[in-house]
Symmetry: C2
Subunit: 210 residues, 2 copies
DNA sequence: GTCTATAAAAGGATAGAC
DNA sequence: GTCTATCCTTTTATAGAC
C-alpha cells in the first residue's frame, strides 16, 4: 500500500488526540507533531482546527451511519414491521462493529463520539449533516410501528437513551477500576449486554400519563 | 438574607459557565467578570482554576449523594430486599430532585455533570471522594440481591447504563429540536420516563453466556 | 505542498500596594 | 480581602520563502 499522505496522517493523529484529550485539550501543535507534519499543515489542508474536527467526525460517523441504514434496509426487506430487539440491534450494532476491540479502537472511538457530542462548544457539533437525521428519522418511524402505544415524545426520549448507553458505556465514566470487572468491557460482551439492556428498556410499556 | 460573599458568587458563576462552555472553554477572566469579582479572586479563594472546579463539583454532587444514601436507608428500613424499580427510583430520583426544572436549573446541572464526567482531562475528575464510592457500592450490593441471577460484571455494566441515561438524557445531544417534542423534556415527565426506561432495563434477564 | 518565522491574542498565575 | 499591573506561557492563524 502507498504510504499515507499528510492529509490522512493528520486525520489519524487528530482522531486519536481528540479522543484522548478532547477538542480544546488538543493543540494543532500536538496534532502536527504526532502526524510528523509541519505546524502549518493543518491550515493548508483543512483551513482551521474546527474544520479538521469536522473532517475527523465525518470520517468516523459516515460508515456507522451507512451501516445503520443498510441494517434497517435488510430488516425491512424481510418484514415490514420488525421487532424491537431487531431494530435495536440494527441501530446499535454498527456502533460496536466500527469500533474494533481493544483500547486502540473501540474505547477510543467511543470516547471520541462522547467527546464530540457532549462538548458544549457549538463549533464542535456543526458537522452534523442531513444524512444522520434521515437515518435517525427512519428508525424512529420503525420503532413507532413496533411500539404503537408509545407516544412520540416518549419514543424520542428513549432514542436518546439508546445513544447515551451505547456512547457512554465503554468510556471509563467511573474512572477507577471497578471490582469484579474493569470498566471498559471487552468488545463482544459489551455488545450483547447493551442489546439486552436496551431491548428491555425500549420494550417497556408506556409510562402512565399522570 | 445576607448578600452572598465573593466566594459564593465565584462558585455560582463557575458552576454556570463550566456547564455552558466546559472546563477548558471557561476562562478565569470570564468567571470573575460574571461574579463581579476581581481577576485575582479565584487564586485567593481557591488556589487555582482546577481547585475551583473541584469545589464546584463537590457542592453539586454532595447533596445528590446524600439523598441517594438516605433513599437507600429508607428503602432498607422497610424491607431488607427492595425491588428493582424502587432501587432505581432511589438512585435516580435525587439526580432529578437536585435539578430544579427549567433551563436555569436541571438542564444546566445535568450538563455540568456530563461535562465533568466526560472530560478526558485527569484534573477535571480528581475531586471524586470515597463517599461517592461508598454509596455506589451499597446500591450495587442491593441490586445484586434483587437480581441474584445476574453476574456481577453485567450488573456493573448496567449501573453505568443508569448513569449514562440520567446524566445524558436532558442534554440536548440531538442538538436540533426534535419533531413532536423538543429534546430537553420538562422535569417531571423526564423523571417518570427515565424510571420506566431504567427499571425495565435493569430488570432484564441476564444475557445468555455464549 | 511544505516549511520558517512571526503576528496577535488569550490564558493562568502572582507580586505587591491598599 | 480586594485590587492593579504584569509576567510568562501557550495558542491559532497566516505571510511569504522554497
Amino acid at each position: 500500500m502507498a504510504p499515507p499522505d499528510t492529509r490522512t496522517q493528520l486525520l489519524d493523529a487528530a482522531e486519536r488526540l481528540f479522543a484522548e484529550r478532547g477538542y480544546r485539550g488538543t493543540s494543532i501543535r500536538a496534532i502536527t507533531e504526532l502526524a510528523g507534519a509541519n505546524l502549518a499543515a493543518v491550515g493548508y489542508h483543512f483551513g482551521s482546527k474546527s474544520d479538521l474536527l469536522a473532517a475527523v467526525a465525518r470520517r468516523v460517523i459516515e460508515p456507522i451511519n451507512a451501516a445503520q441504514a443498510a441494517g434497517l434496509d435488510r430488516l425491512l426487506a424481510r418484514t415490514p414491521d420488525p421487532q424491537v430487539a431487531d431494530l435495536v440491534e440494527a441501530f446499535v450494532g454498527p456502533l460496536f462493529d466500527e469500533m474494533p476491540a481493544g483500547d486502540e479502537g473501540g474505547a477510543r472511538t467511543s470516547r471520541l463520539i462522547v467527546t464530540i457530542l457532549s462538548d458544549p462548544a457549538e463549533e464542535v457539533r456543526n458537522w452534523m449533516g442531513p444524512a444522520e437525521d434521515a437515518v435517525r428519522d427512519r428508525y424512529v418511524a420503525a420503532f413507532g410501528r413496533a411500539l404503537p402505544s408509545l407516544a412520540e415524545a416518549e419514543l424520542w426520549f428513549r432514542m436518546r437513551g439508546i445513544l447515551a448507553v451505547t456512547a457512554v458505556d465503554r468510556v471509563e465514566i467511573y474512572h477507577r477500576p471497578t471490582p469484579g470487572c474493569s470498566s471498559p468491557v471487552a468488545g463482544d460482551e459489551a455488545r450483547r449486554w447493551a442489546l439486552t439492556f436496551l431491548a428491555a428498556a425500549m420494550s417497556a410499556p408506556p409510562t402512565a400519563t399522570r
